[in-house]
Amino acid sequence: MSLNTLAFYLHRITGVILAIYLCMHLVFIGTVKTGEYANLIKITLSKEFLPLDLLLFLAGIYHGVNGVRLIIHEFGLLYRYRKALLYATPVITLIIWIFVCLEVIR
């Protein structure tokens, strides 16, 4: 599998994960109105949930960074550097993810 194909499928998979999360997030936020949120947030802020949160951030950051790469090429920009940007995408994703993890765990 080429790196391009891998990036394509990762974009899709993370997109589906984020779409499912969006639905769950909307239902979860809906509990603010009923007052249930106060109890539910204690569960989702527990240490057991933290790895899931961090993985969700990884999916979101990858989808965003790769999306920006795709948009740059859609505008016909930096096409000469497409291979370099393809390699840079996971590197940039990891740097941002580590920063986010540190901020969230702190």
């Binding site: 589906v16 779409a19 969006l22 909307l26 936020i29 603010v32 949120y37 947030i41 965003g64 948009i71």
Partner: protein, 95 residues
């Protein structure tokens, strides 16, 4: 993905980079997820979330629609209905 669907997917994608980063900063860095804070945020950032919600819902459900179409499913209406339901439910929770 062609025409308006492609154009809006691209434009909402650009907008979401900024919206999601801001949403993350106010919920995880500058603020917290405590019940009282979320309640306050829903009021103080109401306009932000009213704009954010349709953008993110379009990007998500249009993306799912495109994927399903590429696998041969003709479920466009299902995804558009789901998008409208998600926006309506989100707005209902905001007011």
């Amino acid at each position: 993905m062609k025409g308006l669907s492609w154009l809006f997917q691209l434009l909402t994608g650009i907008a979401l980079v900024f919206f999601v980063v801001y949403h993350f900063v106010v919920t995880h860095i500058a603020g917290s997820l405590a019940y009282e804070e979320v309640l306050k945020r829903i009021v103080s950032l109401k306009i932000f979330y009213i704009v954010f919600l349709p953008i993110v819902a379009f990007h998500a459900f249009n993306g799912l629609k495109v994927i399903s179409e590429e696998y041969g499913f003709k479920w466009s209406r299902v995804f558009y209905i789901a998008m409208i339901v998600a926006i309506a439910y989100g707005l209902y929770n905001l007011f």
